[in-house]
C-alpha cells in the first residue's frame, strides 16, 4: 500500500517538474514548484525523515517560493 | 692560471656587459658623451678580459664548473675550452670594432638611448652562449640574445622593420621551442644536459633523432639554414648597419656554435656518422649554399644582397660540420672567423655608404669608389675574400674545406664550393667593378656630350671612426689569409683536433 502511494507521489513529482518546464506563466510555474516541494516533503515523511520534510516545507517551498514571487513581481510574469 | 680565476673571469665577461646595459641606459639621461664612452669602454674591457684567457687556453686548459642547481640534475654551469674561447674572442673583437663605428653611425639615428644598452647587453648574452657549460644555460642565453636582438632589428621602427621584426620574433620563438623540446628529450634520455660529461647520446633511438632534428631547427634557424632562413633576409637589412654587421657576423655564428656543441658534445659524432644523421645536415647545407647564392643574385638592395650572401656562407660552416675530419672542421671553424671579418666589413662599408650618400640600391652605386675610395677598397677586399681569391682569408677557409671534402672522397662538395664561389663572383663583382671603373650616375648624365672631360669627384669619406673599423676588419681578411700560421687558423686547427679527439673529455 505504501509502495503504491510512494509511486503515485513520485509520478506527481515528475508531472510537476515537467509542468514547471512547460508552463509559460511564471507565477503558475512557481505555484507548481511549491506543489512539487510539498509533495517532496510528503515523500520524505514517507522515507522516515521528518526533520528534512519540515525544513523542505518551510524553506524549500515556503521561503523559496516567496522569494520567487517577489522576484516575479519586480520583473514580469510571462516567460 | 687557476681554474677559480678563470671561472671568475668568465662570469665577469658575461655579467659585466649585462650589468652595464642598465647603467648605460641610465647614463643616457646624463649625457650622450658619457653613454658613448661607457659603451666603448665596456666593449673594450670585455675584449681585454676575454683575451686574458688566452694563455690558459694555449696550455690546453678546459674548465667545466657548475654554479648552482636549479632543479635536480639541471644546473647552470660554465665551460671554457678551445671552441668557446675561439668564438668568444671573435665576438668580443667584432663588438670592439662595431661599437665605436656605431658612435659615428648612430649620430644620425634616433633612440640611441635604447640602442647602446641593447648592443652591450647582446654582447653579454653572446658571451654567455659561448661560455655556457650545459645545454640549459646555452638555451637561456640563446633565447636572451635572440629576444633582445629583436630591439636591434626593429630599431628603425618603420613599417618594414616592424614586420621583419615580427617575423624574426615568431621564428625565434619557434626555434626556441624546438630547442626546448630537443633539450628535454636529451634530459629524458640521458638524465643530464651538461656538456662536460661526454657524448650524452650514444645509442640510436627515435627520440634521439627527433631531438637532433629539433636542434637542427633551433640552431639552424639562427644560422639561416634552409628552409628556416626566411627571417634572415628581412631582418638583417632593416637593422642599423653596425647591428647588421653583428647580426650577420656574430649572431649567425651562435647557431653554428650550438650545432657544433650538439654534434660533438651531446651526440657522439660516430653515432651521427654511423646512422647517416649527418647526411641531413649535409643536404641542408648544400641547398643553403646554392640557394643563398642564387637568390643573392636577384637582389637589388645592397644590404639584402649581403644578407642572402650570409645564408650561403653559413652553409659552408654547416657543410664543414657534416664532414667529420680535421680539415673540414678546421675549415668550418676558420670560416666562422673569416666570414665574421668579411661580412662585418661588408656590412659596415655598406653602412658607411648609406650613411654618407643614402644610396642603398646597387644600380646607384656606380662610381662610388671615386667618392669613397677607402671604404670601397675595403669593401672590394672583403668581397674578393668572399669569392675566394687566393691570398685572402676566404680562400684559406674554402681551401681547407675542400681538402676535407676530398679527404672523405666527396668531390661533389668541392663542386658545390666552386659553383658557389662562381655565384659569389657573379653578385659581388657587379658591385665592385662599376664602383671603380664607371662614373657616378648623375655625372654621366650631365656630361654625356663631353666624354673627354674627366669630372672631378670630391673625395668624401665617412667619419674616421667608421673608417677605422672597416679598415681593421678588411685588413684582418688579408692578414689571416696571407699568414697561414696566424692565431685564428691555429685556433681553428687546435679546436678541430680537440673536437675530433673527443672534446678533451
Amino acid at each position: 500500500m505504501t509502495e503504491l502511494l510512494n509511486v503515485l507521489l513520485l509520478l506527481f513529482l515528475i508531472v510537476c517538474a515537467i509542468g514547471v518546464a512547460y508552463i509559460r506563466d511564471l507565477l503558475s510555474a512557481v505555484i507548481l514548484f511549491s506543489a512539487f516541494g510539498l509533495i517532496m516533503a510528503l515523500i520524505w515523511q514517507q522515507l522516515s525523515a521528518p526533520d528534512v520534510a519540515m525544513v523542505e516545507a518551510a524553506l524549500g517551498t515556503g521561503v523559496a517560493a516567496l522569494l520567487m514571487i517577489a522576484a516575479i513581481s519586480k520583473t514580469r510574469r510571462e516567460e | 692560471m687557476a681554474e677559480k680565476t678563470v671561472v671568475a673571469i668568465q662570469i665577469i665577461i658575461v655579467l659585466f656587459p649585462i650589468i652595464m646595459a642598465p647603467v648605460i641606459m641610465y647614463s643616457n639621461r646624463i649625457s650622450d658623451k658619457l653613454r658613448n664612452g661607457l659603451s666603448v669602454l665596456t666593449a673594450a674591457f670585455t675584449f681585454v678580459l676575454t683575451m686574458t684567457l688566452y694563455p690558459f687556453i694555449k696550455n690546453g686548459g678546459v674548465v667545466q664548473h657548475s654554479l648552482f642547481e636549479i632543479i635536480p640534475n639541471l644546473e647552470i654551469s660554465i665551460r671554457l675550452d678551445l671552441l668557446s674561447f675561439s668564438l668568444a674572442s671573435l665576438a668580443s673583437f667584432v663588438w670592439l670594432l662595431a661599437t665605436p663605428y656605431s658612435l659615428a653611425y648612430m649620430s644620425k639615428e634616433h633612440a640611441c638611448g635604447r640602442y647602446y644598452p641593447v648592443l652591450i647587453f647582446t654582447l653579454g648574452s653572446c658571451q654567455g652562449i659561448f661560455f655556457a657549460g650545459d645545454l640549459f644555460s646555452l638555451f637561456v642565453f640563446f633565447e636572451l640574445m635572440s629576444i633582445i636582438a629583436y630591439i636591434l632589428v626593429i630599431h628603425e621602427q618603420t613599417e618594414e622593420a616592424l614586420k621583419a621584426g615580427y617575423k624574426y620574433l615568431v621564428m625565434t620563438i619557434i626555434g626556441g621551442l624546438a630547442l626546448f623540446f630537443g633539450m628535454i628529450i636529451i634530459f629524458e634520455l640521458g638524465g643530464t644536459v651538461s656538456l662536460g660529461v661526454g657524448p650524452i647520446i650514444q645509442e640510436e633511438s627515435v627520440l634521439g633523432l627527433v631531438a637532433f632534428i629539433c636542434f637542427l631547427i633551433g640552431f639552424g634557424m639562427k644560422a639561416g639554414m634552409f628552409p628556416l632562413h626566411v627571417w634572415l633576409p628581412d631582418a638583417h637589412p632593416v637593422a642599423p648597419s653596425p647591428a647588421s654587421a653583428l647580426l650577420s657576423g656574430i649572431m649567425l655564428k651562435t647557431g653554428a656554435y650550438g650545432l657544433i656543441r650538439v654534434v660533438f658534445f651531446v651526440y657522439s659524432f660516430q653515432l651521427l656518422h654511423a646512422f647517416d644523421w649527418d647526411d641531413i645536415l649535409a643536404v641542408l647545407a648544400v641547398i643553403t649554399i646554392l640557394l643563398g647564392s642564387a637568390v643573392a643574385l636577384t637582389q637589388t638592395d645592397i644590404k639584402r644582397r649581403l644578407a642572402y650572401s650570409s645564408i650561403s656562407q653559413m652553409g659552408y660552416v654547416l657543410l664543414g660540420l657534416s664532414i667529420f675530419n680535421t680539415n673540414a672542421i678546421t675549415g668550418a671553424i676558420f670560416h666562422i672567423f673569416s666570414h665574421a671579418f668579411m661580412k662585418s666589413a661588408l656590412f659596415l662599408a655598406a653602412g658607411s655608404i648609406i650613411w654618407k650618400t643614402g644610396k642603398r640600391n646597387i644600380a646607384d652605386l656606380r662610381g662610388i669608389g671615386h667618392q669613397m675610395p677607402i671604404t670601397m677598397g675595403c669593401f672590394a677586399l672583403a668581397a674578393l675574400s668572399m669569392i675566394g681569391i687566393p691570398p685572402l682569408s676566404g680562400f684559406l677557409s674554402k681551401w681547407t674545406l675542400a681538402l676535407g671534402a676530398l679527404d672523405v672522397g666527396m668531390p661533389g662538395f668541392v663542386l658545390v664550393l666552386l659553383i658557389s664561389s662562381l655565384l659569389n663572383a657573379l653578385y659581388y663583382l657587379p658591385i665592385i667593378i662599376p664602383a671603380f671603373f664607371e662614373l657616378p650616375g648623375e655625372l654621366t648624365i650631365k656630361h654625356h656630350g663631353d666624354v673627354h672631360h674627366e669630372p672631378r669627384i670630391k673625395i668624401e669619406e665617412a667619419a674616421p671612426l667608421m673608417l677605422l673599423a672597416i679598415v681593421l676588419l678588411a685588413s684582418c681578411t688579408l692578414f689571416f689569409g696571407l699568414t697561414p700560421n696566424n692565431i685564428a687558423y691555429g685556433l681553428s686547427r687546435l679546436t678541430a683536433a680537440f673536437l675530433l679527439g673527443g672534446g678533451g673529455l
Partner: protein, 122 residues
Amino acid sequence: MEMLSRLIHNYFYLAAIILFVIGMHTMLTHSNMVKKVIAMNIMDTSVFLLFVAIGYVRGGKPPIIDGIGETLYVNPLPGALILTGIVVAVSISAYALSLIIKIQRAYGTVDCDEICQIRGDE
C-alpha cells in the same frame, strides 16, 4: 532486463535521476532567468531525494530515540546532510533572484536571449 527490474525495484533512485535530468534540462534550455532558478531548485531537490532514499531502511523508524528501544532506524546522516543542503540551495536561489532583480533594472529584461541581443547591438 535484469537492470530494468533493478531500476524498477529502486524506483526512488529512478525518479530522482529523472527529476535531476528534467531540472538540468530546463535550467540549461530555458532562457528566462526565473525559470532557470526554479529548475535549479528542482535539480537540487532531486539530489536530496536521492540522498534521503539512500538513507532509508525499509520499515525503519525515524532516528528519534524515545527510550522504547526501537531496533530499526533509518540512517540519520543523509538527513543531517540534506538539511545543510537545503539551506545552501535556498540561499543560492535567494542570491540568484536578487541578481535577477538587478538585471531587470539594468537591462529591462530577464531573458538571457534578449540580453544577448542587447549586448550584441551595443
